[in-house]
Symmetry: C2
Subunit: 227 residues, 2 copies
Amino acid sequence: MDFKDSIRYIPLFKGLPDRQIEELSRIAIRYSFLKDRIIFSEGDEADGFYVLISGRVKIYKLSKEGKEQILHIVEAQEPFGEVPAFAGKRFPAHAEAIEDSITLFFPRDAIVQLIKNDPSLALNMLALLSLRLRQFTVLVEDLSLKEVPQRLAAYILLIGEREKTDEIELNINKKQLASLLGTIPETMSRILGKMVSKGLIDVQGRRIKLIDKKALEELAYGAKLDI
Amino acid sequence: MDFKDSIRYIPLFKGLPDRQIEELSRIAIRYSFLKDRIIFSEGDEADGFYVLISGRVKIYKLSKEGKEQILHIVEAQEPFGEVPAFAGKRFPAHAEAIEDSITLFFPRDAIVQLIKNDPSLALNMLALLSLRLRQFTVLVEDLSLKEVPQRLAAYILLIGEREKTDEIELNINKKQLASLLGTIPETMSRILGKMVSKGLIDVQGRRIKLIDKKALEELAYGAKLDI
DNA sequence: CTTATACATTGACTTAAGTCAAAAAAAATA
DNA sequence: TATTTTTTTTGACTTAAGTCAATGTATAAG
């Protein structure tokens, strides 16, 4: 199979000369995962990393009691599982397809070789890891220093800005939104309910209409959401 | 000034040819910070990163109410503030010297140039960022999925193993230990008290003697610490 | 040595968010 | 369409950990 076109437009591989793209398409292995399939588990030995071509993948931790904390939702064109390619040899978290997904797998040795040959791949990879670190500092800040209503308000506003609309459509269900924000569905549901009754938003299933953006911003910034 | 010897033995620069070490020592700028001095603040523009030569530095987030969450305690020889060198342009967190500290500062442009020339520096940097990501997944897991007694037990055991002793000496005060574990001094104090009364440990100021390691391991793994 | 400043502990109380159980609503499958 | 199955919501209750205030204990400075 020839993956050249899938590979050429992956941001991680931006700026690579044709020869390298060719080489990448030779070493890539295509893996497909149906919805709900585990791609790897925490502690599994890794000998390469993935790039998501289509679908969606959640990266998450599990507590002993089975509570889940989503670290990241991988979207198309993004790499995932890169940590053990460069440090340690086991995946630090679980990965599961939350939609039918197609991935390309790149063996570690081949990638390391490519990095040695091409600094732009190295710099792209450094940028990617740095971005993830930045995102993690926000997650830690949220979990440790903010309350659930603040996180939820910030999330809603973020999606609204990203999609440039005041009527957002969640692309994950509320259970997973709870897991992403470090809480549980019951709490999520109650807080959404409060936001509705306070006139901040309107909820229809996965549709959320942002009504009082100013109040949402205050909430995200630290105000309280009483009663 | 000539920093060649300080630089040569920094793990990040391991494997670099002499020419590059020379170049690094030319571009490095030495900055000293007294205890309690802010090195940079979240949101500050960055045009390079630091390596700690001696002393200790905390990397942390602050809530609006002033609560602090330590992300990482930087020890000698470790780089810090690397994220904006590769993605974004502002520091994602604060850095403060918790001891009198000496650092070397490396301007971004020069480092990028060096990475383009030498793949081993790129791979070292990738390893470093990957390790930090791995550590962050643990921090997120702790904050979201574990209770404070579990985190504290795990921390005590970790230090014990690292120092290969059953009588550890904290190298930070309890206030900062609380901040590192995502809690507050009062809670920290109460839990240490419980651990003492249950016969798990003995505490004398910053000295903690591990008495019942088996119980500590069970606690770290998820058992409860009642009464 | 004494005073000041920071650090640590303790008690009483509050609260955000969790658990458990049940019902309602929505989505998937037969 | 009917029937499972999954997701979401609601209510009653519990709990871990926070707040506030006071006190005790170090450590540093005059």
